[in-house]
Amino acid sequence: MADITFTDSNFKQQALENNLPVVVDFWAPWCGPCRVVSPIIEELAKEYEGKLVVGKLNVDENTQTAGEYGVMSIPTVMVFRDGKPLKSMIGAQGKESYKKAISEALGQ
């Protein structure tokens, strides 16, 4: 399963009401560091297939969701479980760093 594209309209159903924990990459096309994170997110989507839902949300097109979670700096990667944000990682980071944060957030 590839990574998911989250939008304002599908966020509730695909992210908040998802039975699996969800990782959301808040990004925008103009953001250089986001371009570094993007392929990492795609790799994570593959690696965690079946265990986690991993996807991206374009903050330019989906200002409502971005605003709701107070995203004012991108890339921001957030981990959600049961509709609640557990962790927020601000700024481009390496894959290992995301993996570490994801397992911390999920208490593994």
Partner: protein, 304 residues
């Protein structure tokens, strides 16, 4: 066992890796959890030779990484959490593994220096930023503050004017450290205002930034200034804490002796962790090359 362990993966570290691998030295780059260094937080880099149209900072770093890997560098995206330079071979530890190297090049660079005032840490990423090119569009039609008086403060302010309604540069002195070209550019921009001789004492707001508490350094008067964003550009702190036994100056920059040698024989230094003078991508790359050549010569001399 590696011939060379390079700690850090900005322009200096990756350039050193390219040189060392091409010299057939077994090379490991301990790249850090946030690999790529400060250029990962930039957009267009227009002053790196060889890219007449400019290049995106993160793309430039991805290219350097590819080039280092192409020549055989091993790269691990982990932080060096401790080192043992007291005996050879040297040891570099990450959270997962321990590596041995005959020589080490420290190129850990420098990180944003924050103001260190109340209300700041918890609002980083929630209205406080050190990266205008990353975050400026969140401040469309808003008024923002830039703290600092150097080139990077001027640059942040200019980038912000593309989106913000109004940008106020707050500087604690009455003279700027920035170059004249940058000062002129900022002054010519109708959206940029200046407040000099003033210190930010607190960042106000609960969930997001609503203002700052500002002290006039001449009169001692304290007032509040409302703002929706604060960009901090007051300089950098060298990442030199993890290296006990390595000589640093009073600001923490590693001291280099006789061309990129540190006080410990076999440990070399390159880039912003020692250079507080130039701090450019291209000088960092140049220093990385020089440190790699010094390490190579030193390793060669050990064989005799």
């Amino acid at each position: 066992m590696y011939d060379v362990i390079i700690i850090g993966s900005g322009p200096s570290g990756l350039t050193a890796a390219i040189y060392n691998t091409r010299a057939s030295l077994k090379t490991l780059v301990v790249a850090g959890l946030k690999w790529g260094g400060q250029l990962m937080l930039t957009t267009e880099v227009e002053n790196f030779p060889g890219f007449p149209e400019g290049i995106q900072g993160p793309d430039l770093m991805a290219n350097m990484r590819k080039q280092a890997e192409h020549h055989g560098a091993e790269i691990v995206d982990m932080d060096a959490v401790s080192v043992d330079f007291s005996k050879r071979p040297f040891t570099v530890k990450t959270d997962e593994k321990e590596y041995q190297g005959k020589a080490v090049i420290i190129s850990t660079g420098a990180d944003t220096k924050w103001l260190g005032v109340p209300g700041e840490q918890e609002k980083i990423g929630r209205g406080i930023s050190s990266c205008a090119p990353c975050d400026a569009p969140f401040f469309r039609e808003k008024s923002v503050i830039v703290a600092g008086g150097g080139d990077s403060a001027m640059e942040e302010a200019i980038v912000l004017t593309r989106f913000a309604k109004e940008v106020t540069i707050i500087h604690r002195r009455d003279v700027f450290k920035a170059s004249q070209v940058m000062i002129d550019k900022a002054k010519a921009n109708p959206k940029i205002k200046f407040i000099l001789d003033s210190t930010i004492e607190e960042v106000l707001g609960a969930e997001k930034v609503t203002g700052v508490k500002l002290k006039d350094n001449k009169t001692g008067e304290v007032k509040e200034l409302s703002t929706e964003g604060l960009f901090v550009a007051i300089g950098h702190i060298p990442n030199s804490k993890v290296f006990p036994g390595i000589d640093v100056d009073e600001k923490g920059f590693i001291k280099a002796h006789d061309h990129f040698h540190t006080n410990i024989e076999g440990v070399f230094v390159a880039g912003d962790v020692y250079d507080h003078q130039y701090m450019q991508a291209v000088t960092a790359a140049g220093f990385g090359c020089a440190a790699a050549l010094e390490a190579e010569r030193w390793l060669e001399a050990q064989k005799v």
